[in-house]
Amino acid sequence: MKAFELVSPRSVGDAVALLAGKPGAGVLAGGTDLLGLQKDRVQGPSLPLPGVLVNLKRVPALRGIVKEGERIVLGALTTLSQLADDPLLRSRFTAVAEAAAEVGSPQLRNMGTLGGHLCQRPRCAYFRHRQFVCLKKGGDRCHAAEGEHRYYHAIFRGGPCHMVHPSDLAPALQAFDATVRVAGPPGERELPLARFFRHPEEDPLREVALDPGELVTAVLLPEPPPGTCSAFTKARVRQGWQFALASVAVAITLEQGECRQARVILGGVAPTPYRAAGAETVLEGVQPDERVLARAADAAVEAARPLRDNAYKIDLTRGLVRQALGRALGVPPGQVGLAGPWSGDV
């Protein structure tokens, strides 16, 4: 690995000041993504390898899960294990805890932090390969468009870069209308998670809307309306230690058996977490039964525009949407011939 300078501020203010004073410096949290990029020398004309890393691990204010009025505040240094194990998240924000538990491996969840997770770089193998100077590194084309794109590339809204956002947590957090809190030289600001992620059309070089010198300090979750249930499902190449080929987070608010509000957010299928608005429309205002779920799943993938070799992801995503909805609504998996509206297995 190329040598770098490591600085360890003790407060958010110092961290911001250090970043402002050292243009090109990198932010280091758990290091699970960043150090891999440094070791593999992932760099290009518009992507210099940082020579200075500002280590956030010594900033106590960034740790922990606390209540702040009506909102739950998840500090940027909260580890993915903490998110997966937190009783409040598990009961009230089930999809978030489930998504955290699906990330990588136990080792990664113990090291990886929420802030780093949201700011992780894409898994496109061309981006991460030394020999390819792709759009994200300042090159002039997306090698995946005509190349290898079976697994970690978009079927929705791809182009000019066809990567997908790799995060498992992002769809789950977005399903609960999360907000991101950011600190920078001018002070703090908050923005909805949905606007935190940037599409490559806007800027292929960055996936998140952080200005130079800014860092994520927390993610905030509003209390979900009563009657909200949620679930997260994910498909991967093998059982563990893999990013999503596709993932689905759903949060459904039921009132007397009728769906009042639905959130269906897809991960691993688009350059940003993808809100399947069509599926939400199908669900809202009706009593979800088996047929509704199937229609919602169809609607979720309606706008898909796959690349040459990843059309299977449409079927995959459809299946995952249906399974996520079934799980959130508490349909026993694999149950056949159940009385009531659930006749098929989910």
């Binding site: 390819f132 090698h143 005509e146 190349g147 290898e148 563990g240 299977y312 299946g319 694999g334």
Partner: protein, 782 residues
């Protein structure tokens, strides 16, 4: 001339040598086959020093650090085909810490007859362009970026089908078909066989590249001193590495010492030397310092070579009653850019010619050159690919006849090797079928269910070539305190065969395995036990030599005891660890007591393996039975249970044998289900040359049950009765899984791995096929 006798098998008469005759030649006094009641052999002795491995204390060659040691790195070609137009290492050499840079300009050492170690012409992405030695890894890494190379990129052909086209770029300038023609095996007349068959069926299968993914990467530390060259190597065989280095460097073998205390995985990829050995040795000689060259993970995928991708076209002719009349098997294998290893791309031999009774067989292996790294041996080389295709095709032939695929296999059972016209020294495949079918609960027809999740059962037969006659030596030294030392010239590659070899010696001498210590993993002072541990041979090859050595020190000991007691040596017996003197009143005496009383200077013997009895074919057999679950909505395949029945002769160590079976099954389930390289179609560069994206199975992917059923039929071929077990479990697993998936889905995917992508695509085409009813598409090609 040995006495030969007639043996009748399946109505044919063969001439064979009685097995005892060959055993009698072994050692000074000959060896009897072991009986049933054995004290140490067969028991589940835990692996020696196993705890060191799981607690991280085992020392590997990659752990070796020497004073003044330099670190080397390789610069590899980023192009599949290119010429080095200009190369300038001056900026790299100017970097502080850099001691040497080797390139085609300053190094003309040859690698083989075809190419130099650093050639001007590069014929695959990953071929060596330059090497750097520096004071630390960072400087070496940094220096690589400062070697300025100007490449003239030349047209490349990456795909074997394309390489066979008339206008394809020439890889080696003599046509892209290795040897100019396919390799052929022929028996009978397949045209006549097919014409006489009542049902003829053809299918095409594709298998993918598999990498070894060794935890310890390839590499070595090389150091020269007045005594010569010492190489600490991550290898499967210290003696083979020594031979190859000595012959390459034109120095006497005695001036080369190769050490491998432990090896962190080889699976066929660490036999003999690779270019990196020579690079390290040359850099060490040039700089006068020890040089360490271990691959970064991304380069490991090049250094290890790989199991090649293959294509198989199979045509079979059968009678309605299930008799197999003809098999035609055309294989296209990818040889890479050079002749080295080309014959590991594909071969016209093995299961198709041997596994089933079939009078007419034609096999053709088309070995095709492309601008890619050449293949290498990978656990069950060639055979694994052949089984993947053949064993699925056999299932499909059975389907054509609406016959139980297991019954179809039994219908065509054969007891003699049809290719060499010899009876097998032992074959218990029938018992494997029985035990495996019972263990899994095999049923036919199957009911995969109609819901989202379907279940299927699948099975596959296994045949794997065993040890033919090869020499092996082992040295045993019995000390006056009763401790025994075995000195063996082999490397510890992780199978635990050293533990089994200790059991063999302990059994013969009547001592406990704890009394035996080992000198192993070093060419210095060890006999030539094996060139390298490949081909599932180590135990069946070295075990008899160990037994002979132990038997000889036992003979010497008994002679001493007899002399001491004034008894006739013939009156002494060693039984259950006790020396008993016939017709005398002396109380039985343990070996340790006998040593203390009667041995002053240690007793020492070299044991030699006797040859195999003449006239037999030696093979290991097995049958895998698996149950899978497929989620038709998300394409997920999960192996629920695997029952792996193996005929590998006498089982010396049950625990280790079971581990081999479980490890082999799991390793093979990778390329069957999830594991594959991603190759950039434009450049041939591997995009996922890391252990994260190159998805070998993890602990979570291991089925809940992988059960080894070890059918013990001691083999006549050698004095310990063992046959090989390292590769067989890997050879059959993939086909069994694929057959189970096909039965679960009612349709067959003939391309591997069976990823979610392939499963979902297949289900979609079946749905969209005109007139297709789901679950009824079994004969449709996909």
């Amino acid at each position: 001339m040995p006495r030969m006798v007639e043996l009748e098998v399946d109505g044919q008469t063969y001439k064979v040598e009685p097995a005892e005759a060959a055993l009698k030649e072994a050692g000074k006094q000959g060896l009897e086959p072991w009986g049933e009641a054995l004290a140490v052999v067969g028991s589940a002795v835990p692996r020696r020093r196993g705890a060191e491995h799981v607690t991280g204390q085992a020392r590997y060659s990659s752990d070796v650090q020497l004073p003044g040691m330099l670190h080397a790195r390789l610069l590899l070609s980023p192009h599949a085909h290119a010429r080095v137009r200009r190369i300038d290492a001056s900026r790299a050499l100017a970097l502080p810490g850099v001691r040497a840079v080797l390139t085609c300009l300053n190094t003309d050492a040859a690698w083989d007859e075809e190419r130099r170690l650093f050639d001007h012409t590069l014929r695959y992405a990953g071929q060596e362009v330059a090497a750097v030695a520096a004071a630390d890894e960072e400087a070496a890494e940094e220096a690589l970026e400062l070697v300025d190379v100007e490449y003239e990129v030349l047209p490349a052909v990456l795909d074997p089908q394309a390489a066979l086209m008339a206008d394809a770029p020439q890889v080696r300038g003599e046509g892209n078909l290795y040897g100019g023609k396919p390799q052929v095996y022929r028996r009978g007349d397949v045209q006549r066989g097919l014409a006489s068959a009542e049902v003829v069926h053809t299918q095409v299968y594709r298998t993918s590249i598999q990498h070894h993914a060794c935890l310890e990467v390839h590499g070595c530390v090389a150091s020269w001193d007045a005594a010569g060259l010492t190489v600490w190597d991550s290898t499967q065989g210290v003696h083979l590495v020594r031979e190859e280095l000595a012959s390459r460097l034109k120095v006497p073998a005695t001036k080369v010492r190769v050490v491998a205390e432990q090896t962190g995985g080889g699976f066929g990829s660490k036999n003999g030397i690779g270019p990196y050995h020579l690079v390290a040795v040359l850099l060490a000689r040039q700089t006068g310092r020890p040089v360490r060259l271990f691959m970064p993970r991304a380069q490991e995928f090049i250094a290890s070579h790989h199991r090649p991708a293959t294509q198989h076209e199979l045509t079979g002719g059968v009678m309605r009653d299930g008799r197999l009349m003809a098999l035609v098997h055309r294989i296209i294998g990818q040889a890479g850019a050079y002749a080295e290893n080309a014959e590991l791309a594909a071969g016209a031999y093995g299961a198709t010619a041997e596994l089933y009774r079939c009078p007419n067989v034609l096999m053709e292996a088309w070995i095709v050159h492309t601008h890619t790294q050449s293949p290498g041996a990978c656990r069950g080389p060639v055979g694994t690919e052949v089984h993947l295709a053949l064993e699925q095709f056999i299932d499909e032939l059975a389907e054509q006849l609406a016959m139980d695929p297991l019954a179809f296999r039994v219908r065509n059972y054969v007891r003699a090797d049809q290719t060499r016209r010899r009876p097998y020294s032992s074959k218990a495949l029938d018992r494997c079928y029985e035990a495996g079918a019972r263990g899994l609960g095999w049923r036919w027809p199957q009911d995969p269910g109609h819901g989202r999740v379907r279940r299927g059962l699948g099975m596959s037969s296994i045949i794997w070539h065993g040890v033919q006659s090869e020499p092996s030596q082992a040295v045993a030294t019995l000390y006056a305190d009763g401790s025994l030392q075995l000195t063996l010239g082999l490397a510890l590659i992780g199978t635990g065969s050293e533990t089994a070899l200790v059991q063999v010696a302990a059994e013969e001498l009547g001592v406990s395995p704890d009394q035996v210590s080992l000198i192993i993993g070093d060419t210095r002072g060890t006999p030539y036990s094996i060139d390298s541990s490949y081909g599932s041979r180590t135990l069946a090859l070295v075990g008899p030599a160990v037994r002979a050595a132990a038997a000889e020190v036992k003979r010497q000991l008994l002679a001493r005891v007899a002399r001491g007691l004034g008894a006739e040596p013939e009156a002494l017996r060693l039984e259950a660890g006790q020396i008993v003197v016939r017709a005398r009143l002396e109380p039985p005496m343990s070996v340790a007591e006998a040593c203390r009383q009667f041995v002053s200077a240690p007793l020492m013997a070299t044991g030699r393996r006797s040859r195999n009895p003449r006239g037999y074919a030696h093979e290991s057999f097995g049958a895998h039975f698996v149950e899978v679950e497929v989620d038709t909505e998300t394409g997920a395949v999960r192996v629920l249970r695997a029952i792996c029945a193996h005929d590998s002769g006498r089982i010396i160590n049950r625990l280790l044998a079971e581990s081999q079976v479980q490890g082999g099954f799991v390793q093979a389930s990778g390329p069957a289900l999830c594991e594959e390289p991603w190759l950039d179609p434009a450049t041939g560069l591997q995009l996922n040359a890391n252990l994260h994206d190159y998805a070998v199975p993890t602990a979570l992917d291991v089925p809940d049950e992988v059960q080894a059923l070890l059918i013990e039929l001691p083999d006549l071929g050698n004095s310990i009765g063992a046959k090989g077990l390292g590769e067989p479990p890997h050879v059959g697993a993939g086909a069994a899984i694929a057959n189970a998936v096909a039965h679960a889905l009612g349709l067959r995917i003939r391309e591997y791995p069976l990823t979610r992508a392939r499963v979902l695509e297949a289900l979609r085409s079946a749905r969209e096929a005109p007139g297709a009813r789901e679950g009824q598409a079994s004969h449709e090609g996909i």
